[in-house]
């Protein structure tokens, strides 16, 4: 990974003004609208949002696995300085696995049930690295040992159904790491797992990526997972990136009213309130995203400007938020009246 002349490390992944569209019979749905972010080497970027916010879509767009008729309609994606969003499918195939590893939610569907995990690992390793069968098998053993599979020699010939859920996800991580990719996209890697196993898998994912300097894009709806694992977090809403910043800042001092409501609506272990803070209404459907700021109908601070003009990401706190509250010239005033009695101090 080269250094830029100004001493700043070149990001592994750089997404600029990404736009994904789904043409339908009635209208063109904009699933991702002007999404921009970077991930530095060794950094874990958490991407959070509710279902339909576009977080998985972002990962799928980066690795070009969008379901047709969805397609990238604008913007650029650069991987280690090389533009990849305009590559044809046959030029993109060698990138998957070799440069971008992928970990999905359900380990049972990402492993082939008909092949032993040893075969699957060896196949993946040999597809990407110049190794013979014996070397690849050695490497598979080392990988399984690294992801914490006990007695890997005896498990190499086991089939996926013979593993428990947590062990399967370890195998999937081993597969994703097999060719030492620069970027790992982990899409809800622990959602299918129990909480006790979740902690093990997250610690593992974080350790192996840090050791290799791989960048991680961690897509999840679980703020707890983000709080523990990510360095920075990007909050998505209705296909747009509405806030991005250091993880502790976004969790403690969210700058966008949506992130603020989201953090306050999570029941915590530390305190107990009679009622949880609730954001009224629901996220708009893609076919009916309001003009201006997509959050304006649910926002307690919204004014006329929010209904007309869409805010860009503006500097806010230690990060950036797409909200006119943070307009440096003419900020919208906060209105605190409609708030519940519950404070948002986390």
């Amino acid at each position: 990974m080269g250094h830029k002349p100004d001493g700043e490390r070149e990001p592994v992944l750089s997404v600029r003004h990404l736009r994904v569209e789904f043409p339908t019979r009635h209208a063109t749905l904009v699933a991702l609208d002007d999404v921009s972010f970077d991930i530095a080497p060794g950094e874990v970027l958490g991407v959070v949002g509710e279902s339909g916010a576009g977080k998985s879509m972002t990962g799928n767009a980066v690795i070009q696995l969008l379901e047709p008729p969805g397609h990238i309609a604008g913007g650029e994606i650069h991987l280690a300085g090389r533009r990849i969003d305009d590559l044809a499918e046959e030029d993109f195939v060698p990138l998957r696995g070799r440069h971008i590893g992928m970990i999905f939610q359900d380990p049972l569907t990402s492993l082939n049930p008909l092949f032993s995990i040893g075969d699957q690992l060896v196949e993946t390793i040999r597809a990407h690295l110049p190794m013979n069968e014996r070397q690849a098998r050695e490497r598979a053993l080392a990988l399984l040992r690294e992801v914490g599979i006990p007695a890997p020699e005896t498990r190499l010939d086991s089939y996926p159904h013979q593993f428990s859920g947590g062990m399967r996800q370890r195998v999937v991580i081993a597969l994703a790491l097999a060719a030492e990719p620069e970027l790992i996209i982990a899409d809800e890697p622990t959602t299918a797992l129990d909480v006790s196993v979740q902690a093990q898998i997250l610690a593992l994912l974080k350790r192996v990526c840090a050791e290799r300097g791989a960048a991680v894009m961690l897509v999840t709806h679980d703020m707890g997972v983000i709080a523990e694992t990510a360095d920075r977090v990007a909050v998505m809403y209705a296909g747009r990136l509405i806030e991005i910043g250091p993880v502790n800042e976004v969790i403690r001092r969210p700058q966008h009213p949506y992130s603020e409501g989201l953090m306050a609506s999570i029941p915590g272990l530390a305190e107990r309130h009679e009622r949880l803070y609730q954001i009224e209404g629901a996220m708009p459907r893609l076919a009916a995203i309001p003009a201006g700021c997509a959050f304006n109908p649910r926002c307690p601070h919204a004014v006329e400007r929010c209904r007309i003009e869409r805010p860009e990401l503006l500097p806010a706190g230690a990060g950036q938020a797409a909200c006119w509250l943070h307009d440096p010239e003419n900020p919208v005033a906060r209105r605190d009246a409609p708030r519940d009695t519950q404070e948002v101090t986390r």
């Binding site: 129990d194 909480v195 902690a199 093990q200 707890g224 502790n248 029941p267 915590g268 954001i279």
Partner: protein
């Protein structure tokens, strides 16, 4: 244990549901021919094996545990979706142990007093029925004398109670979001003014902001109608928000049952401690998340003695041999652990 009168419990509230030594075993053996040819034994899955608890009127008892611990099976035993293999259920002084074998009409009087809310609001509503028909069904069944005009009026009232509009009765389930569908499920459950609701992971399929709305609604309804909840969840933070008392289950048994504040302040059972420590914390720093070693064993072949002993740092010979019973402690909790009983840990 023949009680016809509601018995006042230690804390004053009258006991609404008493479960004694509930057990449900499932036959998971291979078919007869395979057993003969492969000389395989009969296999029994003891999903629930000796679970006892009481629920007082107006309180919320939560069952928590990881997948496969039997919490959902307990819910289904109580509402009579599964028959009991062993044990006894008494609801408000009436024996309901044979509910699963009774026909709907025979048990109508008792059945309409409790209702169940399921986890998946997509699977629990008939997609071919209009919302009004779905919510009106329990009314048609339990109150056949009600005129259709009255029924429509009642359905409208129910929809408004759960924060929807009476006009939604004419729409179909697919027109609603997950949170709205769960509101419809709640409206259906409320139709016959039940006293007791069994809620099996009612918010696990929902986003956090929607979860906050549903949890608040459930609390409001509880206050308004004096409802009693059996609340099943794997999410400790949600349980902390909702429950008065909490039962922690592990492999078909209760490991610890305690008032909510006591459990979160000083969990006694090593499993409860680990479960609490494994919850990802939004606060991030300050509390190191300890990882539990290992995973939940296969319940078809549970470990001998205390089922938790292979993962327990305090296990000794006795734990490997002898199943611990729930023993009451002075702080109002009951713990099934030899180490706690012997004072090896506090």
């Amino acid at each position: 244990m023949s009680q016809t009168q509601p018995v006042p419990s230690a804390e004053g509230g009258e006991v609404l549901l008493e479960a004694t030594d509930l057990a449900r075993h499932f036959d998971v053996s291979k078919p007869w021919l395979n057993r003969v040819l492969e000389r395989a034994e009969k296999l029994t899955l003891k999903a629930v094996d000796g679970v006892s608890f009481t629920i007082r009127r107006g309180e919320t008892l939560a069952l928590v545990g990881e997948s496969g611990c039997g919490k959902s099976t307990v819910a289904r035993l109580i509402v009579g979706l599964y028959g009991l293999t062993r044990g006894r259920l008494v609801f408000d002084g009436q024996e309901i142990s044979d509910l699963a074998r009774r026909s709907g009409r025979q048990s109508a009087a008792i059945r309409q007093r409790f209702q169940m809310i399921f986890q998946d609001p997509y699977a629990s509503l008939n997609p071919l029925w209009r919302v009004g028909t779905i919510i009106g069904e329990p009314l048609r069944f339990f109150r056949p004398e009600m005129s259709s005009v009255d029924r429509r009026r009642r359905v409208g009232e129910l929809l408004e109670q759960v924060g929807m509009s009476a006009a939604d009765a004419n729409r179909y389930p697919h027109e609603f979001s997950g949170g709205q569908r769960q509101r419809i499920s709640i409206a259906r459950a409320l139709a016959n003014e039940p006293e007791f609701m069994v809620c099996d992971e009612p918010t696990s399929a929902l986003d956090v902001s929607v979860q906050a709305q549903i949890l608040n609604l459930m609390k409001d309804l509880q206050q308004e109608y004096g409802l009693t909840y059996l609340f099943i969840s794997h999410d400790m933070a949600v349980v902390k928000h909702m429950a008065d008392r909490i039962a922690v289950m592990y492999l078909g048994r209760i490991a610890e049952i305690a008032p909510a504040e006591a459990l979160f302040a000083t969990p006694h059972h090593p499993y409860s401690r680990m479960l609490l420590a494994a919850v990802p914390s939004l606060e991030g720093e300050g509390r190191e998340r300890t990882t539990i070693e290992g995973e939940v064993p296969n319940p078809v072949h549970p470990p001998s003695g205390c089922a938790f002993h292979p993962r327990c740092p305090h296990a000794n010979e006795r734990c490997r041999a002898e199943v611990p019973a729930l023993i009451a402690r002075s702080d109002g909790s009951e713990v099934a652990c030899h180490a706690v009983e012997e004072g090896r840990i506090d």
